[in-house]
């Protein structure tokens, strides 16, 4: 048996691949759920009810999808240019911390301050990825290692700041940063739920990112630089400028996720505010085959699993860790599915 590259990836395969991957991941996870002594169909039904079964459930799911869209876009942007940004988690936290710090006492009216704070969060995330990108360009340091390890550095730094200078004196000793000023809290989209304006910002951002990557000369150059750096340089693409630009955009998107989460949901920063949004963003990007529109859909899927698994745990007693298993499995099955979209099997 051998694999041959396909000349073209047909559209129906490109759409079927993530669906097939998700189905395969659910089938594989069903084995584990069965081992826990619960009927898989009952468990998945409970999961769906928990994520989509009521108005509240849907809004909760979309609240969870909001940061995932942005971290997914961050990963997709970087991966398209073959910049392996595994540091979305750290960029998320640094964006969140910067937003809380500046937003706590920013002397601006709300409508002006919100975009300013978003830009601050983006700048923080961009700065965090600019370092590893520079090290790769200048010294060839593998950015997978630097971005991944920086996550731990950033989370420890966040811990230090919220135990120390940025500690919220009103939190009764709870390790939490000072909150952003009430003027900069994002308005709710649906009253009496947590769903906030950030969702629209995230979806609009996906549109802008698509436009930039697919239609601009910069997007074409970034893709060229990722696919074949030597040929791109030969054709006159400036590699350092392009890669640094990609790093700033990617890090900025992950930082924006942190900023929006703080302004929309948590107010202040804790070291547990992200259930792995940065890492899950990688799964989201891969499930979307790095396409910005797909990122939105994939983020909704991952959020459904996360939110639904909690309800499933309550209803059936299956540990909600199964959500992490399903998301991780769908990354693996998606990688296999991608192989089948780009290759055909020959005997």
């Amino acid at each position: 048996m051998r694999f041959e590259r396909r000349a073209h990836v047909p559209l129906h395969l490109a759409v079927a691949a993530p669906l097939g991957a998700v189905a395969a991941a659910l089938v594989l996870a069903a084995g584990l759920i069965g081992a826990a002594g619960v009927g898989p169909l009952d468990a998945y039904a409970a999961m769906l009810r928990g994520a989509l079964g009521s108005r509240l459930a849907v809004t909760e799911m979309l609240t969870r999808a909001t940061p995932l869209i942005l971290t997914g876009l961050a990963a997709a942007t970087a991966f398209r240019a073959r910049l392996w940004n595994i540091g979305g988690e750290g960029q998320f936290y640094l964006g969140a911390l910067t937003t809380a710090w500046i937003g706590h006492a920013l002397p601006l009216p709300g409508p002006v301050g919100v975009p300013v704070l978003m830009l601050c969060g983006m700048a923080a995330g961009a700065a965090l990825l600019a370092g590893p990108a520079f090290l790769r360009l200048r010294f060839g340091v593998d950015e997978v290692v630097t971005t991944l390890l920086l996550n731990f550095v950033v989370i420890l730094f966040v811990g230090m700041m919220i135990e120390g200078p940025l500690r919220d004196p009103l939190a009764f000793g709870w390790p939490q940063s000072v909150p952003v000023d009430g003027a900069f809290r994002l308005p709710d989209l649906v009253p009496r739920t947590r769903l906030h304006l950030g969702l629209l910002v995230a979806v609009a951002t996906a549109g802008v990112v698509w436009l930039v990557l697919a239609r601009t000369t910069w997007g074409l150059e970034a893709r060229a630089a990722g696919l074949n750096p030597r040929a791109a340089a030969f054709a006159g693409v400036s590699l350092p400028a392009t890669i640094m630009g990609v790093a700033c955009l990617s890090g900025g998107l992950a930082g924006l996720a942190g900023a929006i989460e703080v302004m929309g949901v948590t107010g202040g920063v804790t070291t547990t505010m992200s259930p792995g949004f940065g890492y899950a963003g990688i799964v989201v990007a891969m499930l979307a085959a790095l396409h910005p529109a797909g990122v939105v859909a994939a983020a909704v899927f991952v959020a459904t699993v996360f939110v639904g698994a909690d309800a499933m745990g309550r209803a059936t007693g299956v540990p909600s860790f199964i959500a992490d298993v399903i998301v991780a499995l769908s990354l693996l099955t998606m990688l296999v599915a991608l192989l089948f979209t780009t290759h055909r099997v020959r005997r």
Binding site: L220, A224, L227, A231, F234, A235, G236
Partner: protein
């Protein structure tokens, strides 16, 4: 003579395309057989069937009279077939000895017997005239030396039939000549050799017999003593292909001038190319051609010296500024430097001049596609549409794309580095014709080549490059292969 290898009625289809159709070949002990054909004629497929990489749809392979089970490389190796692929399969971080032994020992043996392996390797290297240092790391070896290691690897596994896929594609001419001497010696020592090639002169020089493949079928078989290059060329292409002929032309004013340029790899290079003139730079690979190409592409600014294009200083110009100043480039390695295989034809066609195909930072896709369509039409890129992924094109069509994208701008200066390396006759003729047309339209062309025939056919003047230095120019009417050979060897006083 005893027959060691027989392929009987081999047919192999990929979908609707027959890569091989009813091909029959025989090989005797001590014989060198050349398999000649254009790219896509089915040579490599046939050898992959013989080696067990593919299973044939019909037909039989016999080694030493015994049929070979289809689709099993292991069986082929055990029967004494050794294959040297075009792209070497060596581990660069291991030593020569490690590479040769790798895979020939059982995994279950507790330790490998290095002393015996070394003795055997040295004995083989001595017997077949393939000098290697067993302890050298492969990463440090030249391509010629790596090829030697590949051949030794096959011999180490007791190969009695050696198959080489385009063995000279990566070699300079003297290295290639040495290789064919070695192969002759091995044949005299009782081995049988099959090599795949599309170069007529090496088939004539290196083989006893030649089988010509065209469109998957064997169209002829000749003893090399009884045929001529012209006959083989016609058999291979199926029609008469004539490379275009350079006509005399009075060159114009100096267009590209380099004065005393020093970079990594160039040591005080000065040259002048006039408008409407082709200057040929000949030399053995690794003597500074890559540095010269990089300099004139704008990739490596010189430490010392100046470069001017049409009177303007372009010494410090990057690739994009060079293009804007009227330069076009055909890079040495078309896949690594010329195109981005995963992108479409239109994207590659406009990548060098994105500014001309964009408005306000957005790509004008429709204009870009129209431009690509025109280029496909004008330069005869067969089987390509503007949306085709470039990787899917043949080497010749990719080269036509690169040449075409450079020439549609009517450049003042064209850098052509190894423009026909690895191309078949039809594509070579097309590229040559395009270069000559650009010259006649007034471009100044720098042709860097290892093929003396190419330099003699195209260039108005020639200079040899040796260790980063250029010889004095020789006019085309004073040049012949012998004189260029001396120049390439660095023997500048003798010429």
């Amino acid at each position: 003579m005893t027959e060691v290898l027989a392929l009987e009625g081999i047919t192999k289809r990929f979908g609707p395309i027959a890569a091989n159709e009813d091909v029959t070949l025989h090989l005797d002990r001590g014989e060198v057989l050349a398999l000649l054909g254009e790219n896509g004629a089915g040579k490599t497929t046939l050898m992959n069937i013989l080696f067990g990489h593919y299973a044939a749809d019909a037909g039989e392979v016999r080694v030493m009279g015994r049929p070979l089970p289809p689709g099993r490389p292991r069986a082929a190796i055990d029967a004494g077939v050794g294959m040297v692929h075009q792209h070497f399969a060596l581990a660069a971080n291991l030593t020569v000895l490690d590479n040769v032994v790798l895979g020939s020992e059982s995994l279950w043996r507790p330790r490998s017997d290095r002393t015996a392996a070394r003795a055997r390797l040295l004995d083989l290297s001595d017997r077949f005239g393939l000098p290697v240092d067993p302890d050298a790391r492969v990463a440090r070896l030249s391509v010629g030396e790596r090829q030697r290691v590949e051949i030794l690897k096959a011999l180490y596994r007791d190969a009695r039939i050696l198959i080489l896929d385009e063995p000279t594609a990566v070699l300079a001419r003297p290295e290639a000549a040495r290789l064919f001497e070695t192969l002759r010696g091995m044949a005299r020592g009782g081995l049988s050799v099959v090599f795949i090639s599309h170069k007529l002169h090496e088939v004539m020089a290196g083989a006893d017999r030649v089988a010509v493949l065209r469109g998957g079928r064997k169209v002829a078989e000749r003893a090399t003593a009884d045929t001529t290059p012209a006959e083989l060329a016609e058999l291979m292409v199926g029609r008469r292909v004539e490379r275009p002929v350079r006509r005399g032309r009075r060159p114009g004013a100096p267009m590209l001038v380099a004065r005393d340029v020093r970079t990594d790899g160039l040591d005080g290079v000065s040259l002048t190319i006039r408008s409407g003139e082709i200057l040929g730079i000949v030399g053995v690979s690794g003597n500074g051609q890559a540095a010269l190409g990089a300099l004139l592409s704008g990739l490596s600014p010189p430490r010392h010296g100046t470069v001017t294009l049409d009177g303007r200083d372009v010494t410090r110009h990057g690739p994009r500024d060079m293009i804007r100043a009227g330069a076009a480039r055909i890079p040495e390695d078309r896949n690594a430097e010329g195109v981005i295989g995963e992108m479409t034809v239109w994207e590659n066609a406009v990548l060098e001049r994105l500014a001309d195909f964009s408005v306000g930072g957005f790509v004008r896709q429709r204009t870009a596609r129209r431009h690509a369509d025109a280029l496909i039409e004008r330069f005869d890129l067969r089987g390509a549409a503007s949306g085709t992924r470039t990787r899917l094109l043949s080497g010749g069509n990719i080269q036509k794309l690169i040449v075409g994208r450079g020439l549609t701008t009517d450049p003042r200066f064209l850098l052509a580095a190894q423009p026909t390396r690895g191309l078949d006759e039809g594509a070579i003729a097309a590229v040559h014709a395009a270069l000559l047309a650009a010259r006649d339209a007034g471009a100044a062309i720098l042709l860097i080549t290892e093929e003396l025939d190419e330099a003699l056919a195209l260039a108005d003047r020639m200079q040899a490059i040796v260790k980063g230095r250029l010889s004095d120019p020789v006019a085309a009417r004073d040049a012949d292969a012998g004189r260029l050979g001396l120049m390439m060897a660095g023997d500048w006083d003798a010429v």
